[in-house]
C-alpha cells in the first residue's frame, strides 16, 4: 500500500502539465471554439509528438500500455487548460471501447489511427436505436465533438457498433453548445451501415468507466486551475487599500475550494488505481469520483467568477470557459444524483 505516484507517473504528469500549459493557450482554444471545438494543431502534437493519446492503450496498436492512473494524470493536465481536444470521446471512450470489445480487424484498423490522431472517434450509449440486420436507425443527441468525428461507437442493451461518418444514411448536425470547447452534435441514422463489435457490453462498460475517469480527472485539473487563477488575482487586486485576498470572507471561500479539491484529488486517483488493480471498490470509486469531482469543479468555477467580480463575467476573461466546462461535465455520462443513487443502492439496496 503506497498512495503516491511512482517516479514514472510523476514524470508523465509533469510532461503533460508542461505541454498543455505551453500549447493549449487561451488564444488557440478560442480559435477552436469558433470552429468545431477542436484545436487540430494541439491534438496532432499531443497524439503525435508527445505520443500520449495511447497512454493507457495496448502497445500492439501504438499505445504505451499503461493504466488509468497515467491516463488520469494526462486528463487532469488537459482539464487544467480547458484544452479543446476530443480526449473523452475519441480516446477515453471510442478507443478504449474498441480495445476492450472490438473485433481483431476493428482493433487493427482503427486503434492505431485513433491513437495517432489521424482519426477522431465519438461515442454514445443510447436506447433510441432501431437495429435491422447490419443497419441502425434513430437519432442520437448530445454526441460530444460529434461534428468532427470520423466514426462513432454506438450501443444499447443489445450490442455495440461502429458507424462511419461517411456511411450512407448518416447525417451529422452540429449543435450550438454552451461549452464551445466540447460542442455536441446530433446524429441522425437512417438504415446506416453499422459494424458490430464482438463484445458489445464490455466495450460500452469500458467506455463508460474510462469516460468517468477522464471527466473526473479533467474536473480536478479545471478546479485546481480555477483556484490557482483566483489566488493570483486575490494577491494583485487592490480594494480599500489592501489586496482583496486579505479579507477573511474571500480567504474562506478560497479555503473551501482547497478542501473540495483535495478530496477530489483523492477521488480521482482512488478510482483510477481501483480500476487498474481490479479492486472490489472500483464501481463505488468511479461513481464517487465522477459525482464528487464534477461538483467540485462547478463550485470552484462559480467561485472563480464571483471572486473575480465584474471582469469574471466578461467574455474576454477565461473564467467562463471553466464555468461552462464544469457545467457540461456535471451532466455528461450521468449527473451527480444518478451516481449517488448508484452508491446508495450499493449501501442500502434498491430504492422502493
Amino acid at each position: 500500500m503506497e498512495f503516491v505516484f511512482t517516479e514514472e507517473q510523476a514524470m508523465i504528469g509533469e510532461t503533460a502539465r508542461a505541454f498543455f500549459a505551453e500549447s493549449a493557450t487561451s488564444e488557440h482554444t478560442r480559435k477552436a471554439m469558433a470552429g468545431d471545438g477542436i484545436d487540430r494543431a494541439l491534438w496532432q502534437s499531443f497524439c503525435g509528438e508527445l505520443g500520449l493519446g495511447g497512454v493507457a492503450l495496448p502497445e500492439a496498436y501504438g499505445g504505451a500500455g499503461l493504466g488509468m492512473v497515467e491516463f488520469a494524470l494526462v486528463a487532469e493536465a488537459a482539464g487544467a487548460q480547458v484544452a479543446a481536444i476530443p480526449l473523452v470521446g475519441s480516446i477515453a471512450m471510442a478507443a478504449h471501447a474498441i480495445a476492450a470489445g472490438g473485433s481483431d480487424s476493428q482493433r487493427e484498423e482503427i486503434l492505431p489511427r485513433l491513437i495517432s490522431g489521424d482519426l477522431i472517434g465519438a461515442c454514445a450509449g443510447t436506447e433510441m436505436l432501431t437495429v435491422d440486420g447490419n443497419t441502425l436507425s434513430g437519432i442520437v443527441d448530445f454526441v460530444a465533438h460529434g461534428a468532427a468525428a470520423d466514426l462513432f461507437v454506438l450501443g444499447d442493451a443489445e450490442g455495440a457498433w461502429i458507424v462511419r461518418r461517411d456511411a450512407p444514411g448518416v447525417t451529422v448536425t452540429a449543435l450550438t453548445t454552451m461549452d464551445q470547447t466540447r460542442p455536441f452534435a446530433r446524429l441522425t441514422l437512417d438504415r446506416a451501415t453499422a459494424e458490430p463489435m464482438s463484445k458489445g457490453q464490455l466495450a460500452l462498460q469500458t467506455a463508460r468507466e474510462c469516460g468517468w475517469v477522464c471527466l473526473a480527472a479533467e474536473a480536478l485539473g479545471g478546479a485546481q486551475a480555477a483556484l490557482d487563477k483566483t489566488v493570483a488575482y486575490a494577491k494583485e487586486r487592490i480594494q480599500f487599500g489592501r489586496p482583496i485576498g486579505s479579507f477573511q470572507a474571500y480567504k474562506h471561500r478560497l479555503a473551501d475550494m482547497v478542501i473540495e479539491i483535495e478530496q477530489a484529488r483523492s477521488a480521482v486517483y482512488w478510482a483510477a488505481c481501483a480500476v487498474d488493480e481490479g479492486s472490489d471498490e472500483a464501481a463505488l470509486a468511479l461513481h464517487a469520483a465522477k459525482s464528487y469531482c464534477a461538483d467540485t469543479f462547478f463550485m470552484c468555477a462559480s467561485n472563480m467568477i464571483q471572486l473575480h467580480g465584474g471582469i469574471g463575467f466578461t467574455w474576454e476573461h477565461d473564467a467562463h470557459l471553466y464555468f461552462k466546462r464544469a457545467r457540461s461535465i456535471q451532466t455528461m455520462l450521468g449527473n451527480g444524483d444518478y451516481h449517488r443513487e448508484q452508491v446508495a443502492t450499493m449501501i442500502l439496496g434498491e430504492a422502493a
Binding site: 489592501r242 474562506h252 446508495a344 442500502l348
Partner: protein, 392 residues
C-alpha cells in the same frame, strides 16, 4: 501508486483481527462497543495496560521504546482492525498520539527513558493543557505562569477543555515563563504530574450530559526542573510540533469509528423505512463517499514523504473530518426522526446516534475551529495575507 496490501500484510491483518476479537470475546468483553471516551474509564485503563503487555500499545514506535517499529501499512491495518473489532477508543490517545511523539522528537534521552516505555505499556495516561479561558483559538495568549525556584518549576493559572484530565496521570502545560512576554514568545512546555495538592480538576458538563472535558487549576503546582521539553522559551515551537502529530495514523482508527457510526445510521434507515426516501438516499451516499475520500486522503497524506512542500491533504484534513461528522450527526437525526429525541434511560444519557448528533458539535471547535482552519488553509496553503492582530 498502489492501494492493495501484500499477502504478508494480509497475514498481519488476520493476526491483529484474531487477537483483538479474542480479547473482545474474553476478558474485556464488558467494554466492547463503548463509543464515548468516558464510559468505564477504569476498565479501559486496564485495557491500555493489556495492550501494552501484549506489545500492541504503540506499534508504530521504535522497538527500543516499547513499540514494534511497524510499517505504515501495518499501522493502517491495526487501526482498521482495532475499530472493526468493536474495541473502544484509547483513553490514552493524548499520550500515544501527542505526548509520546513530542517526547520522541524533542525530548532528551532521559525523558524518553522516563516516559516512552510507560506510555507504550499503558501505565502513564496523559492529558493536554493548552487552552485557557482567555486563550482558545488564540493559543499564543496563554497566561498560566511558570517560574523556576530552588530547582523546581512553580506553576499558577488555569487551563480549560482538558479532555480526560480526571483519569490522567500527567498533563503537559504551555506556560508563560518570561515575565511580561507576549504572544508566542516566552512560553515553555512543561510535563506536570497531576496527583499533587497544587492541581485541581473540575469537570465541565457538556451539551450531551457527559463530562469528558475539565477545568484544571494550578496553585503553586510543581514539577522538577528537568520537566521541560525543549528549552526555556521554546514552548511555542514544541506546541506547534505537537499539533502536527495530530494527523498521524490514528486518524485511520478514528475513521473506522466513523464507519461504525455511518453503518448504524444505515441500519436504522433500513429498519424504519428512511432508506427508501430519495433525499435520504442521496445524503447517505454523500456520507459514504465523504468517508471513503477521507480514507484515501489520509492514505495520501501518510504515504507522502516529501515534506518540502505544504501538503494540501494534511492541511485540510481536520476541517474535512470534523465537518463530515457534524453533517453525519444531523443526518442521523433526520433518519431517526422524533425517536432520536428521546432516550430510554432515566438519566440524560444518549445512545450512539443522538450522542453523535450532540457531541459532533464539538468536532468543528476543538483542535482549531473550522474558521481557524480556513484561515490556516488560506494563509499557509495559498499564501494569502495573514489576519491582522489587534492589541486589545
Amino acid at each position: 501508486m498502489k492501494l492493495g496490501f501484500s499477502p504478508e500484510e494480509e497475514l498481519f491483518r488476520a493476526e491483529c483481527a484474531d487477537w483483538l476479537n479474542a480479547q473482545m470475546a474474553g476478558e474485556f468483553r464488558d467494554i466492547k462497543g463503548i463509543s464515548t471516551l468516558t464510559e468505564k474509564a477504569e476498565r479501559r485503563k486496564e485495557w491500555e495496560q493489556h495492550l501494552g503487555a501484549n506489545g500492541w500499545g504503540c506499534i508504530g514506535w521504535p522497538k527500543e521504546w516499547g513499540g514494534r517499529s511497524a510499517s505504515l501499512a501495518e499501522q493502517v491495518i491495526f487501526a482498521e482492525e482495532y475499530a472493526r473489532a468493536g474495541v473502544p477508543g484509547r483513553v490514552n490517545h493524548i499520550g500515544i498520539e501527542l505526548a509520546g511523539p513530542t517526547i520522541l522528537t524533542f525530548g532528551t534521552e532521559e525523558q524518553k527513558k522516563r516516559f516512552l516505555p510507560d506510555i507504550a505499556a499503558g501505565n502513564t495516561i496523559f492529558c493536554q493543557g493548552f487552552s485557557e479561558p482567555g486563550a482558545g483559538s488564540d493559543l499564543a495568549s496563554v497566561r498560566t505562569k511558570g517560574r523556576l525556584e530552588n530547582g523546581s518549576w512553580i506553576v499558577n493559572g488555569q487551563k480549560i477543555w482538558t479532555s480526560l484530565a480526571h483519569i490522567s496521570d500527567w498533563i503537559f502545560v504551555v506556560t508563560r515563563t518570561e515575565e511580561g512576554s507576549k504572544g508566542p514568545k516566552g512560553l515553555t512546555f512543561l510535563m506536570m504530574p497531576i496527583d499533587q495538592p497544587g492541581v485541581e480538576i473540575r469537570p465541565i458538563k457538556q451539551i450531551n450530559g457527559d463530562a469528558e472535558f475539565n477545568e484544571t487549576f494550578f496553585t503553586d503546582a510543581t514539577c522538577p526542573e528537568d520537566s521541560l521539553i525543549g528549552a526555556v522559551g521554546d514552548g511555542w515551537r514544541i506546541a506547534m510540533g505537537l499539533l502536527a502529530f495530530e494527523r498521524g495514523v490514528s486518524t485511520l482508527g478514528q475513521q473506522m469509528a466513523f464507519r461504525n457510526e455511518l453503518d448504524a445510521i444505515i441500519t436504522a434507515a433500513k429498519a424504519n423505512g428512511a432508506a427508501t426516501n430519495p433525499l435520504i438516499r442521496q445524503r447517505l451516499a454523500k456520507a459514504e463517499i465523504g468517508l471513503k475520500l477521507m480514507r484515501y486522503g489520509a492514505l495520501r497524506m501518510l504515504s507522502n514523504t516529501d515534506h518540502s512542500k505544504v501538503d494540501g491533504a494534511a492541511l485540510t484534513y481536520k476541517i474535512q473530518w470534523a465537518t463530515w461528522r457534524r453533517n453525519l450527526g444531523e443526518l442521523a437525526m433526520d433518519v431517526l426522526g422524533q425517536a432520536g429525541e428521546v432516550t430510554d434511560k432515566a438519566e440524560y444519557e444518549w445512545s450512539v446516534l443522538p450522542n453523535l448528533f450532540l457531541y459532533s458539535r464539538a468536532d468543528t471547535i476543538y483542535g482549531g475551529t473550522n474558521q481557524i482552519q480556513r484561515n490556516l488553509i488560506a494563509e499557509r496553503g495559498l499564501g494569502m495575507p495573514r489576519e491582522p492582530r489587534g492589541d486589545v
